[in-house]
Amino acid sequence: MLRQVEGSKAVADAVAACKPEVICAYPISPQTHIVEGLSKLVKDGTLQHCEFINVESEFAAMSVAIGASATGARTYTATASQGLLFMAEAIYNASGLGLPIVMTVANRAIGGPINIWNDHSDSMSQRDCGWLQLYAENNQEAADLHIQAYRIAEEMSIPVMVCMDGFILTHAYEQVDIPTTEEVSEFLPPFKPRQVLDPMDPVSIGAMVGPESFTEVKYLAHQRMIDSIAKIEEVADDFEKQFGRKTGGLLRSYRTEGAETIVLALGSVIGTLKDVVDELDLDGYSIGLVGLTSFRPFPFEAVRTALLGAKRVIILEKAFSTGTGGIVTQDVARAIEGLGLEDLTLIAGLGGRPITIASLRSYLVEAMDDQVERLTFLDLETETVTRELVKERALQ
């Protein structure tokens, strides 16, 4: 049903429509409204056969999720930033044990210094943990991705992070068509675990694996992650067939036909970029956009195909590797090896700094004129940092 609703509420309702059996989360800005919404649905009886557990930390949240999922329950949790790090040990454990948990990450910067606003440093910090990472462009996609995530997770036996920009999406009110429980039931069958804790058929889950087998276990997980690329596409196609809209999948191209320059980005900034690209195209520039939905697994082939024919790719990132540079850039560079494409990195929106059409436009025009560095921080206060660097280097 089409509603004008807060992003968090849309997600809560979409998750509820999936009939989760255990929800366990610890509050952290900006995820709180999602969990509050679900808590109400369970408490007032709207969401039945669901246990809502108020845990004492994010580490506990993921741990409760592990226990619940291993017992065959469809399980949900949500977090951001510091909370994601606090559960890091458990995140690896969940994927290592092949538990199809779905978790919302309301993307928020990692401190110190403490910052509650949006960027991608949190989910990016966990890119190697063996979870799928799908990024929502808008709240419609945020809602839809959770539904698709359960199907992908349960069919592949891999947990999924649905990443949505904190505040920018979670706290934005926009139109969302939220599927009903009945509609979701048609799309998402009941959870059939590959292995489960059952006194009638006892198994030991979580054994200690030594040097003689560990590599093989990890190799198989790696292959399964790669196999999920096809699954992500399949599920998105099925979703489109049933619900009539294109959300999820690996990536979406916008006006890239014949584009000389292509910008690649993740999350809500894609919306803003569409407006910028339209403006620039009208002004005679040759520029297009690739919005990446699946960051993990990284769809190397699909990205390569999407960027084929361009002269230049600009990767807009909301996180970076301190001392090194872009993160997504590294994967993109590998995808376009040998194509003769130039790649530029634009770090923007860190700690919630607004990414404006004006600033983007200004940078892109310069970039298309080969007037920018390989790595740029958008809207950097150069006077201040130059002064500070002089002081800093004098101390060294």
């Binding site: 807060e6 606003w117 808008n138 505040f167 706290h171 926009e174 803003t272």
Partner: protein
């Protein structure tokens, strides 16, 4: 696309105002995007919220730097921050105050009579609602001044959001504000 920026202080329901406006716009089958400025809110601190209105899908998410309309829920902010920053020429201004434009010391170039409304929204709220919360009230004024959204849509949004008793008070106050501004506009015509 029509862009509205709402200024107020924490605790005055600025974010709710943007939400209500978005729901009212949706009620009339148009697209709306509303979001807060995400400051570290505390009661009394300056707060900003935004609402974009369009017939088409709204994609950009930057803060509204060049508003077509401003709603100022607390006139004490005028001296404190540059609430009028970026206001488009001919842009609408709605100010919650029981003072006059002269008393508020507002530049005449900003305030053009038929695109400006100054009204005692807090007083109206006290009369109809019993609480000094002017957010929904000012949306009635917005409807009257801009015509961008009908009073009916505004009151529908209010009814959807609040419990019946509070909704009734807000509807009454918003309607009173609507009439107040309509009269003001007529007087200037």
């Amino acid at each position: 696309m029509f862009q509205v920026r709402i200024h107020g202080r924490g605790g005055q329901g600025v974010v709710t105002a943007a939400e209500l406006l978005a729901v009212a716009v949706f009620d009339e089958r148009r697209h709306a995007q509303a979001f807060p400025s995400f400051g570290s809110e505390r009661t009394g601190a300056p707060v900003v919220a935004y609402c974009r209105i369009s017939d088409h899908e709204i994609r950009a998410r930057e803060p509204i730097m060049e508003p077509d309309a401003l709603i100022i829920q607390d006139s004490s902010l005028i001296k404190q921050i540059d609430v009028f920053s970026g206001l488009k020429t001919g842009g609408f201004v709605i100010i919650n105050s029981n003072e006059s434009a002269e008393d508020l010391q507002l530049a005449t170039k900003i305030l053009v009579p038929h695109t400006t409304a100054i009204l005692p929204a807090t007083e109206l709220a006290m009369i109809h609602l019993g609480r000094p919360v002017p957010n929904a009230v000012l949306l009635g004024a917005f409807s009257a001044l801009t015509g961008l959204v009908s009073l009916q849509a505004v009151t529908n949004a209010i009814a959807e959001k609040f419990k019946p008793k509070i909704a009734a008070g807000n509807v009454a106050a918003a309607t009173a504000a609507y009439e107040y501004v309509m009269n003001q506009v007529a007087a200037h015509a």
